[in-house]
Subunit: 351 residues, 4 copies
Amino acid sequence: MIFASDNWAGASREVLAALTAAGAAGPLPAYGDDDATRRLEARFAEVFEREVDVFLVATGTAANALSVAAFAPPWGQLLIHEEGHLAVDECGAPEFFAGTRTVALPGRFGKLDAADLARRLADWPIGVHHGKPAVLSITQANECGRVYTPAEVTALAGTAHAHGLAVHMDGSRLANAVARLGCSLAEVTWKAGVDVLSFGATKGGCLMAEAIVSFDPSKREELAFRRKRGGHLISKHRLVAAQFDAWLDDGHWLDLARHANAMADRLARGIAASRVARLAWEPEANEVFAVMRPATADRLTAAGARFYDWSTAGLAPEDRPGEGETLHRLVTSFATTPDEVDAFLAALAEL
Amino acid sequence: MIFASDNWAGASREVLAALTAAGAAGPLPAYGDDDATRRLEARFAEVFEREVDVFLVATGTAANALSVAAFAPPWGQLLIHEEGHLAVDECGAPEFFAGTRTVALPGRFGKLDAADLARRLADWPIGVHHGKPAVLSITQANECGRVYTPAEVTALAGTAHAHGLAVHMDGSRLANAVARLGCSLAEVTWKAGVDVLSFGATKGGCLMAEAIVSFDPSKREELAFRRKRGGHLISKHRLVAAQFDAWLDDGHWLDLARHANAMADRLARGIAASRVARLAWEPEANEVFAVMRPATADRLTAAGARFYDWSTAGLAPEDRPGEGETLHRLVTSFATTPDEVDAFLAALAEL
Amino acid sequence: MIFASDNWAGASREVLAALTAAGAAGPLPAYGDDDATRRLEARFAEVFEREVDVFLVATGTAANALSVAAFAPPWGQLLIHEEGHLAVDECGAPEFFAGTRTVALPGRFGKLDAADLARRLADWPIGVHHGKPAVLSITQANECGRVYTPAEVTALAGTAHAHGLAVHMDGSRLANAVARLGCSLAEVTWKAGVDVLSFGATKGGCLMAEAIVSFDPSKREELAFRRKRGGHLISKHRLVAAQFDAWLDDGHWLDLARHANAMADRLARGIAASRVARLAWEPEANEVFAVMRPATADRLTAAGARFYDWSTAGLAPEDRPGEGETLHRLVTSFATTPDEVDAFLAALAEL
Amino acid sequence: MIFASDNWAGASREVLAALTAAGAAGPLPAYGDDDATRRLEARFAEVFEREVDVFLVATGTAANALSVAAFAPPWGQLLIHEEGHLAVDECGAPEFFAGTRTVALPGRFGKLDAADLARRLADWPIGVHHGKPAVLSITQANECGRVYTPAEVTALAGTAHAHGLAVHMDGSRLANAVARLGCSLAEVTWKAGVDVLSFGATKGGCLMAEAIVSFDPSKREELAFRRKRGGHLISKHRLVAAQFDAWLDDGHWLDLARHANAMADRLARGIAASRVARLAWEPEANEVFAVMRPATADRLTAAGARFYDWSTAGLAPEDRPGEGETLHRLVTSFATTPDEVDAFLAALAEL
């Protein structure tokens, strides 16, 4: 009954097999100058339906912060939802890597809205006293487990581009979003106006596989130098390349994401049906937000369930828990089993 | 006949087995807050014979640069041999992470000398106009494949401490050094005055396993925050913890290092005995530096050997190749086989 | 009729005389190692009624950003009112100098409230994922021309200290605040809990005279190194020292501030009495905020008046201009004459 | 008998008069958006014989470091003579502002040599592991009081440009160099290939007047943002503009520099003629380097002379003082009088 986070899981059997095979293989050039990495780059081009620049890194924080650094000047501003991972959970990494100021914007269910963004940018103070907005970052699927449609990404990116901002997508759960949307990776990224993507496979079934995918070839050199300078050029590149390769192979990544989403749906349906908990909002990926009394949460924990209390600071008033209620996040992963979900729901039913 | 670098190798069977087991295990708290990581920390305390703070990271560059950042103020200077990895091969990572100025010092065979350092520090300009020396970094085994004895480390560290500098050891090949010296890890690190260590297992038989080992508890919080901020807090910590654990288990790390060193010795003896190449200097770890004519090197390459041309810029005049000769580096690893060495020597003999 | 900003004025006669005398004097050691600077430091100790560390710099931005850098770690957060100069007008200088994240907080009339701050800090997420709050910065008099009483500063500083934050005061108009409050410099700074102060004399009657005044001797070395490294150690220190000295001499600074405040009061009374404009709120220093129709503002401008349109973004709903009205800022200075004010009010009366 | 440094002097009468007039003048827009600054920019265009971008700042350190930051990426390297001010005396300001690595190069009498530079750049390691050379900075007149001819600058800049480096000139004593060379400002700067210049008037007769003069319009926005972000956009711009204006007026700057140079020559001739001191090398600007016994220096100091002991670390062996001798720097300024020089020489003669 572990719903703490999808990064509590291990890796899929297929990914582990590929990792083991890669590790046992003979000598390969280091630092990504090897055939395995080149094969992976070709595969990225395939799944994205165009040439892309790929930079493998160790963490989503690195992918996010390096992306911002390459697309914003130091006097630029990073516009991001106030619940965004870069805004809340990455210890000031954009300030460190890019020097930018982080400007947190509101929006319901963790999503930014193009019309609201347009209104803000129309009046944005720009100049040497103020700096200037430089990068818009959106999370897909986002920190509230919600998903931007390609049309929504297109609208946000269009607004951003019209004001000279580049668009970054934090895709640590992009697989879950794509699985839900039923669209292609291309449709919800570069075709919708995304300039640079943090594409995460760690939460989706690998042990460690994160990539910066840049759709702007003019940033190639900068990203390459910045990655090394940030200590993110992994020497035995095969470690990451092999995991990504197996994950992307034959739709494995989508299968894993669909499973995680299905488990979230199963969990959500059960919670919605329960008498002692309710959904804070409909899940759209693999994160379920539930409202219950603290005592309920405590009893679930005592029964062995693991999930996080969640901050309500960024919620609109109409979305807040009622008096005496608290908000909780439950995350499913590729490794979540129906039995685990059902055990949780059974524990809930007993309360 | 791959002697390009020890990071061209994969991982040892034992390490891979542990990695696979860890990846297939059930859910574990992320970001190092798990039992596997705690067990590893206890193991580090054992092998270092004292309490230490351990911060697992993705690369040696990260370990090195974060160490400097935690032990030097931004206006500090990093003193390091002019052939040091941080000085030559890490793209200005200390400038990025720490803000420090890198001051490159000379020394025979890539080693700094305590008496020379003392002379320099006695006259070092210090003050707001100049900044001040803050961290001394030495590489063990170093970039010339040479080893500092515990006495030499003690002398350097004593000089550094007397002038207010902290001492960092870049130990990406520390296992090879310890295997050669026959001393304990403690004797050549903290007992000799090292304040913070980059302890690398990647080159020594893992796919990716690097650790900052700090002997100064007052730096704990700073290192923790800086690691996350630098994007180096790996979420599925088990990936690194499991590799390190297997590597440290039962002297496996020393066995692997002894093997690599033995292969270097075998290679060195063969080169010394050859008519068309000679040793630039005696190897003391797993790196062999050979002097030959470029045509010789070309023919070995044509025969399938892989090794790097090496810069002679940092060599003392008496150590430089002669007219018409060039310098080459050959590195052995845990995966190098006697057959590989012998094939190379046979190719050499045929020229 | 120039009410654009108090930094549009020149310098007072007394300050200019001192500057000229200093410039014409014979040789003096550079970089502040001179008697004029030492005399000034003694004078600062007098007016602050205790030993202080004084670092003269060129701009308020430098004073503010260096202060933050010395009192916050790079992973710290700067808490500041959303209208604060460091938050709005300094081009990301704290991100550059300190690496900190800027967190903008709301509050009526540009002021932070201790109870609100306490509520926020009680729930503040702290840890390696989030960073931590490190410095509270308040502006005195603030960007809305309002003043913190010593009791208010004491309450804010007490809250900040209780949560481990240092307290910075941006005092580019501190003289105006002190003149209004009728308290001593000590009462509203260190006695109220301020740890470090940007003390500005430029707006108050000098051409360029800004000082970091630190009440924490443990930051002395850091501030000295950071100032030089930031390019803010002025070589001919007499330039700044002489201006500050004349400004602090014999209450000259307070006389100038009282005059500016009196001119603001005269302006405010006239606006309050006018039929076509009204005060947005009562001024407490030398800045008057007026609400009028844009056409009124245009006609005043056509008549030769200079003042800025002002953003209403940070205003509470109850303080916002009505339909068809806009907000404007008018600033008086030591150089504003009653005639100038009266000419403006006459122009207003004619509309 | 003050020969400590040219920044120990005050300002010329003409400069002070202009400063006083500017300070007493009526209101002017702040931050350089005023007529006085625009007039100054026009004057810069005149003296440089082309359009230039001018950014007034408070210190030479700021001018130097901002220039490097605008012309080098963070992973770039700053190539500079090992005696260069940025390398020795600015507390790591380029590391702070630009993130670059400082690479110190040797050269006789503080000068870099184009042929030597070309040899080095031909073999320079470039790539993500190493970074890349980005800016060449030369000092004119340099730290040894020597001058680059336009031909020498042209050769160095040509070499730099051929390898993709931008060329920065640290011109804190450029007036002295131009006065000596008898060339135009244009000939020894942009016509010789300089891309960006730190043009200092502080040492040459102002109290504080430094400018970044950029010959590359593509860097305009970056320099503007970086200056503000670094706290170097002075609010009452008239302070600097007025000083520069008076200094550039009617050849005043050249008259002052010629006087300082003449005083240096007078001093040098006297030292060369003395029995107890000798010239370390011929002065070419306003700095005289003398070799004497420490006891001689002590007696001169006791007689009231002020000058600095100087490091011999960067000297070629053939230029070093002999056994029992030390090196000393004596600097003249616009304010040095013949009597002062003669008094020093008389004191020397008495020893």
